[in-house]
């Protein structure tokens, strides 16, 4: 689970399966959007970070995988098309968007430390002494707050609902005081200020989306075919059981030739892909009755057909 502050909501609770994401990303670019798109799926979480219309970062993460850049975009597209996701879009300041990127791609030093068990002061002192750059993510069940550091000095604070880094620690500290609050410590290496490349310039987003749509279509067809085959197998079994039942009745009343007549009339039964039903069998009963008159009288034939009809009802 990726924990991020919600920022200033632009769109919330959209089903990404119903959105042409290639177009949506294009609009973000044209609109010089700064912020992030968060995709929550049962299979993981995807985050696309925009800075002034440039897609500077993408991530897809779950317990087993940590996919970034094109892999992250591609996987997010795939999951979106499954239709079980939720998309939220939040606007942020340019600086904060960059910080969020740093946060997502930083190294996890401590994860899920209970604030009641950890000496927060010692942790902050160590950050300063070791001149760490990165982020302290403090979260409870309901709220989240971030404290960004650069070279050991706190850069600012961020909490739910704010669009920019703040200089007061009030909100962040109030989260730390909530029951069950925890802290993650993430650190970055190298120059965090370095200008980040626009993934949309180097990636064929439309092509990636098209490939994802095609793959989803293929999977859907595969599933439909499998379901259709299952249905066909079921129907074939039912047909087989009906035929065997009718054969046994015909055998009892007309002997071996009766069983052969059932086979013949069954082969001629035109279901046109439909299910075997009482109405579909009406023609069968008529034709079988006519053929059976060659070897038996009406009373015997009527009795046989009656038993077949009852037997079929029993099978249904």
């Amino acid at each position: 689970m990726i924990l991020l502050p919600r920022g200033n909501p632009v769109k919330e609770n959209i089903n990404p399966g119903k959105v042409n994401l290639a177009d949506a990303l294009g609009k973000m670019r044209q609109g010089k959007f700064t912020g992030y798109m968060r995709f929550d799926f049962p299979e993981g979480t995807g985050v696309f970070i925009y800075q002034e219309g440039r897609l500077i970062s993408s991530l897809f993460e779950n317990e087993r995988e940590h996919l970034i850049a094109y892999d992250g975009i591609s996987r997010t597209f795939d999951e979106s098309l499954n239709g079980n996701g939720k998309l939220n879009i939040y606007r942020l300041s340019t600086e904060l968007a960059h910080s969020i990127h740093t946060l997502l791609h930083g190294e996890v030093l401590h994860k899920g430390q209970d604030l009641q068990l950890i000496d927060i002061k010692s942790l902050l002192i160590r950050m300063r002494e070791e001149k760490r750059s990165g982020c302290l993510r403090i979260y409870s069940k309901e709220h989240i707050a971030l404290i960004f550091y650069r070279d050991g000095s706190p850069l600012g604070f961020f909490h739910d609902g704010s669009t920019d880094i703040e200089t007061t620690a009030d909100s962040s500290m109030s989260v730390a005081k909530e029951p069950g609050a925890k802290v993650d410590v993430l650190v970055t290496r190298g120059d965090g200020e370095k200008s980040l490349a626009d993934l949309m310039e180097t990636a064929d987003i439309t092509g990636m989306w098209g490939a994802a749509v095609a793959e989803r279509q293929r999977q859907r067809e595969e599933q439909e075919n499998a379901a259709s085959k299952t249905q066909e197998t079921k129907e074939s079994d039912r047909r087989q059981r009906t035929q065997e039942l009718f054969q046994s009745f015909a055998m009892a009343h007309l002997g071996k030739i009766g069983s052969l007549l059932v086979d013949k009339e069954f082969d001629k039964l035109k279901l046109n892909g439909g299910q075997i039903s009482e109405s579909a069998l009406d023609d069968f009963y008529t034709k079988l009755g006519k053929s059976a008159r060659m070897v038996a009288g009406p009373s015997k034939i009527d009795k046989m057909l009656e038993e077949m009809k009852k037997g079929f009802k029993g099978l249904s």
Binding site: G255, I257, L261, V295, G297
Partner: protein
Amino acid sequence: MEMFQVVLGFFWLVAGCVSFYFSIGNARVWTSIAVGFFLILVGEIIPGALPFLPGLNNPYVLAMGHIIGTLAILMMSYGFQEYYVFTRTLDFEGSKLHVYLTVVGVIVASLVFLLINPTPDEGVLRVIRIVENTNWVFLSLINIDLIRKIHLNIKDTPISNGFLAFMVVFACIFLWKGSQLYMDVFSLDTKQHLINYTISHYANLVGNLLASLSVGGTFLYLGKLLR
């Protein structure tokens, strides 16, 4: 002897009516067979068994009797062949009306054929009779074998024993028609003092009687089996 002929005529009348009735009320496959047996009554018994019937000595009536008799065995054989094919392929086609119309058509065509040719004399009638009896004799043997095969194919059906009865019918017909053919081929009617004639003559009468009884009995039995 005339009394015996009347009794024979009565039995054939019963057998003919039963078989014709049977052809109406049952599956198409029985039409050819039942109509064939009915034609024995029409073609042979009426002129042959009832001497007091007006026109007995008319050569056209006698010739038509033999022709219809030939048609009778051909129809039966055709019907049994159809039944045999059905037991092997389960396929069957045609309609009863088609069978009736074909029979009537062939009879009318035969009559026209007779009328446009010279009046049949004794020699011509004898040849036609030999042709008829030859057909009866050999087709009876073939039918016995065909019916045996049909019986094997459908032996566990309700009707299978009816085919055993038909085998008996054709055995009687073989005796009846065979003895007649024998007498015609060797012209035994001109050598009535020979024991061969006496045996053949009585075999012919007994065969005729048994055939009429077995045909009527078989169709009644079939009617019971096909209820």
